[in-house]
Symmetry: C2
Subunit: 476 residues, 2 copies
Amino acid sequence: MADKKLVEAITSMDEDFAQWYTDVVKKAELIDYTSVKGCMVIKPAGYAIWELIQKQLDDRFKATGVENVYLPMFIPESLLQKEKDHVEGFAPEVAWVTHGGLTPLQERLCVRPTSETLFCDFYKNDIHSYRDLPKVYNQWCSVVRWEKETRPFLRSREFLWQEGHTAHATMEEAEERTIQMLNLYADFCEQVLAMPVIKGRKTEKEKFAGAESTYTIEALMHDGKALQSGTSHNFGDGFAKAFGIQFTDKDNTLKYVYQTSWGMTTRLIGAIIMVHGDNSGLVLPPRVAPTQIVIIPIQQKKEGVLETAYALKDRLSNFRVKVDDSDKSPGWKFSEQEMRGIPIRVEIGPKDIEAGKCVICRRDTREKTEVALDELEVTAGALLEQIQTDMLERARAHRDSHTYVAENMDQLEEILNSKPGFVKAMWCGDQACEDIIKEKYAATSRCMPFEQERLSDTCVCCGKPAKKMVYWGRAY
Amino acid sequence: MADKKLVEAITSMDEDFAQWYTDVVKKAELIDYTSVKGCMVIKPAGYAIWELIQKQLDDRFKATGVENVYLPMFIPESLLQKEKDHVEGFAPEVAWVTHGGLTPLQERLCVRPTSETLFCDFYKNDIHSYRDLPKVYNQWCSVVRWEKETRPFLRSREFLWQEGHTAHATMEEAEERTIQMLNLYADFCEQVLAMPVIKGRKTEKEKFAGAESTYTIEALMHDGKALQSGTSHNFGDGFAKAFGIQFTDKDNTLKYVYQTSWGMTTRLIGAIIMVHGDNSGLVLPPRVAPTQIVIIPIQQKKEGVLETAYALKDRLSNFRVKVDDSDKSPGWKFSEQEMRGIPIRVEIGPKDIEAGKCVICRRDTREKTEVALDELEVTAGALLEQIQTDMLERARAHRDSHTYVAENMDQLEEILNSKPGFVKAMWCGDQACEDIIKEKYAATSRCMPFEQERLSDTCVCCGKPAKKMVYWGRAY
């Protein structure tokens, strides 16, 4: 009965997806709410996922020449205001520090919502010659945006992220880095998070405040809503002109640098939950699972059972493995393994030991197999790989089967109102059409994908000649 | 001449130690100043040291059962005020957020100067039963203290650190964890940073705001000043009572938890500079050197030189190694290697290649040796170990030869005014004597060391019966 209670505590995702999500983040002990409105505690089970994301992303960054730095968390108001579009985009949602100790500050400081202005202020003094370029810097930190509606991982007033900021001698090189990082993000999502993404460019309406162009990766959640999962911006020389970041080039003339920025956040943990989770809780891709294998002893008080469990743990030391030797019932432990999304559970009891085997059960499909004890390392390793691959393929199949085509507004309306998912449709390039679609259906242009198709010749909204195919959707 | 200029740019440490320090942090490109008063940019060369500190410290933490979490950076004013001593200690030096976007906040939030109050607020809801204990959590983050006088790494308005916060069922267990972490810190400083430390307990006057007892590790810098390098606090049940953190124990009664906290910061980078640096710049212990070996090709345009340099790099792949193939002169590169504190430099030119050897030069002693090329891996590996050991021993010898004994105020005055270093002296336990010594000589009690000696029977200040031997010194 106790076992059942644990599982019953999760709302069914078909009944109420939002409540299911909230139940999972709480019951899988990823977060806790705090006295600080809109901010959360990331608990050990949640933070360990972030550490695995950080480590693997950081290794990939460094392989492309990225160097890590740390800049202040405060931005003087005058600095924030230097780039016109940027300040308009961010000023309404920053937290302002007005006092240091008991003394009012001469100039207000905002807590960084993003650090373009600080990097520009730094680069202005750090870059003099073409020899100083490129600068390919990144920082891991927290940022603050004073959101009104918040949800754990998806939208909170403070969140953790990495923000890369680069400076280049030419526009071509900046564009190359922008696309390189977008591709790195997409590969990371597919290979590590088992989450397929659409790569594309944002429309003018949806681009980052101050950017010349913004590229995005968009993923589809289980409920058919889109999640922007990473962005990469090319600033051209706009910030450089606003901040006066110049260098002496090889031809001895003074030129402005070209800049980029790119970021991914703890929001990715929300994406993992909503792409892979099910009604029993979290389902973690093995590469970001803090525990990949949990060994659950059956009748653990019987002689030899715990010893065998620990011996198996030692043999599985290539993986992140734990023995659950608590005094809870096996059924309760099974439910916990499912709730926490641990990819593989190994069951080992007296009869198994006698027969020289154990039972392994994969979290994603719940499939159970008997495995000879002396084959466990090899089988478990192969199974983790298989789970990782299968999870990506299932997510891709879900995404593809929830991607629709609309040729006119009637079709668009019918799809958006009855079939949650991505809608591919042609667009004339006019922001007015985006505004209409947003107002009528609460759907936004997610991106103009790199892989363009010619679905029809006319804009889904106004019927004028189409310029681009766009992915539309309701988004988090 | 250009080579000379680079080196001459550092002030001699004997002439002006403070200026020498500032020159080194700037010239070794560890930091840059910013438009945000009292805050710095940690540049790649500085941040890479921090990453090595983080990785090695975090591994040691996890080996003792520590789990990482992340709590909000903001503390509501009412929460900060719950523990009386704590708020008195910190309120005068916090930054206050008063506006979110365009709206004034109903309650001011301070940017965390430390997170005891947030952890208490979290534990209050997270701890119910003895089964939930102990909690051994840590976070890596930045904190803000509105200092008036700032110096890079040593004292800045924002700095990076880790803060561990634990909760236990008994006072004994809390005390055990407090001491365990202090010992871990001391081992880390000695083994990784090659920096010997004195372990001891702070006096009542010097303990942390809200703590029952504070333990510290104190290191001696090259100029004879002390640097508090890490602290570990036992809070008893003081915070638990202020915040109402109770659990049901095995005997079914409700009890308050016992708590600890412990932290180390980016200040450790300042310690590395001031313990090991010399008039040519930084000297990094191999275990925290982002580059351990730099290969400098001589006459690099001659056939085969660069190829050999890269081949050596590949063979040294067990270490953090770089080839400096820039178009600067070898002399300039040597100066840069010294400035940046890279432990080993390998010089390889056409004549060396012909003779099947290269020259290796260690940074700490500047000793040069010829090494047969096919012995380079083994020799370099052994030399890095040797440098690490020698640096610790040299630092220990310096510390020991700058530790003095005073039996009365005349001796104390004479030592403090003419021989910078630690002064060991007996103390009666009365804060009035600490106040007098601080006022007269600007020296503070650094700690009551675990290794007590009986230097005399009377207090160095008042002549009354002595209770403890204390390390005194001027400190950063």
